[in-house]
């Protein structure tokens, strides 16, 4: 089985992990309550989608 020959330096580890980033989700304002929400998804704040009540809040 292939095994690493050398210990990976902290520098190399940290350089690798510095490329590991989260991206901010694109949010849109809710039509009814103006809270930011994900697009094409019912608003988790007021529970509406296209002004239709979908979830009980």
């Amino acid at each position: 089985m292939a095994v690493p020959k050398r210990k990976m330096s902290r520098s190399n580890t940290r350089h690798r992990r510095s490329q590991w980033k989260a991206t901010a989700p694109a949010l849109v304002p809710c039509q009814t309550c103006n809270e930011p929400k994900l697009g094409h998804i019912a608003c988790p704040n007021c529970g509406t989608y296209n002004r239709r009540q979908v979830l009980n809040v």
């Binding site: 239709r52 979908v54 979830l55």
Partner: protein, 159 residues
């Protein structure tokens, strides 16, 4: 021919997928709206709508065909007595899927699938009017093609 569903079966095996779909359909007709994952909701929609079409037909053969999928007789009864007649003048599109975002725990995208309301008299009138406009528009498109050669001949004669 319908396009086969891509990807692996829900639940692992074909038999498990059939049971999952049958259970989801039963629960949908029992409660009117259910919360499930987007993938399951999308697979459930065609099955549920076909069952409702069978319920609209309402004869014994249709009932026996539906009973092969939904084995709960009381649910089949409500499907044939209440849900089928409700959609008498709605030409398909009996369910609505609304996405409700990722689930806590495994981040699975969730959705609500529900039976839509019966068409109101006003809505069905609007639907018929739109269909009539479409038909007349199609006739109008077809008519000039018939008329065009007749127009062309006199023009040639004058030239």
């Amino acid at each position: 021919m319908p396009t086969p569903t891509k990807g692996p079966r829900l639940g692992g095996s074909p038999a498990h997928e059939r049971r999952i779909m049958a259970n989801l359909a039963t629960q949908l007709f029992e409660h009117g709206r259910i919360t499930t994952t987007e993938a399951k909701a999308k697979r459930l929609r065609p099955l549920a709508e076909k069952l409702i079409t069978k319920a609209k037909r309402g004869d014994l053969h249709a009932r026996r065909t539906v009973l092969q999928t939904i084995t709960d007789k009381s649910v089949v009864h409500t499907l044939f007595e209440e849900i089928g007649p409700r959609y008498e003048n709605r030409p398909g599109g009996y369910t609505r899927i609304t996405k409700i975002g990722p689930r806590r725990g495994d981040n699975a995208p969730m959705a609500v699938i529900e039976l839509v309301e019966a068409l109101t008299v006003q809505q069905s009138a609007v639907g018929e009017a739109e269909a009539a406009t479409k038909r007349s528009a199609a006739d109008a498109e077809a008519a000039p093609q018939d008329a065009a050669p007749e127009d062309a001949k006199p023009a040639d004669a004058e030239a």
